[in-house]
């Protein structure tokens, strides 16, 4: 399963992508919202993890674009943000995000949401370290 992680913070990208790769996911990375929209089309991920505070195009605008494009609207999007206000969740869902989670990441909780959105078939076939 391929996950597109859209995150501008280098350490967050590195840390989360490693943890997902250790569980067998193929992770591709975008560093801003526009790159995320472009890679959603070019790389056809199974799911997108979208930081919301992004340069060039923020996560809300990027998600709206993804959800209005027939080629990408079916890709589940999970919003990730360090803001913990309930209004942030509503704002993310209104933009078209399929789910929402907060930072710091609770990995078991996030993995549960990923697997739910991937229909239960998203769990890596061979969990474990990836080299």
């Amino acid at each position: 399963m391929k996950i597109l992680l859209v995150e501008d913070n280098e350490m967050n990208r590195d840390m989360l992508s490693r943890r997902l790769e250790r569980r067998g996911y193929n992770v591709v990375l975008a560093v801003d919202g526009q790159a995320g929209v472009d890679m959603a089309s070019s790389d056809a991920p199974d799911l997108i993890l979208m930081d919301m505070s992004l340069p060039v195009l923020d996560g809300w605008a990027a998600t709206r674009r993804l959800k209005t494009d027939t080629a990408t609207r079916g890709i589940p999007v999970i919003a990730l943000t360090a803001h913990a206000m309930s209004s942030d969740r509503e704002k993310a869902l209104e933009a078209g995000c399929d789910d929402y989670d907060t930072k710091p990441i609770d990995l078991p909780r996030l993995l549960g949401k990923i697997e739910t959105l991937l229909g239960g078939g998203g769990k890596a076939a061979t969990p474990g370290p990836s080299a």
């Binding site: 967050n12 840390m15 360090a82 930072k103 710091p104 990441i105 990995l107």
Partner: protein, 87 residues
Amino acid sequence: MTEKQLPGGTADRHPLPASLVHDLRTPLGQIIGYAELLIEETQEEGGQPSLTHLEKIRAAGLRILALIEQSIEPVSANDPRDEDLPS
């Protein structure tokens, strides 16, 4: 003793600005995430913790410390509740 009387009880707490909370949660998440990654690696591989990972944990911790020092000192200096506290 009621919660109001307890040091650090909710009655003594003052909400932090949302921007500060955001700025603190980001490096805190990195500290927690890399620490968990190290734990996973140590548990599964039995190897020594990576020096690179440890350096990232240290850098994120120092960033939190700098943020806290920058944020708390001006507030304390202007907080009338601190006027009677011994220096």
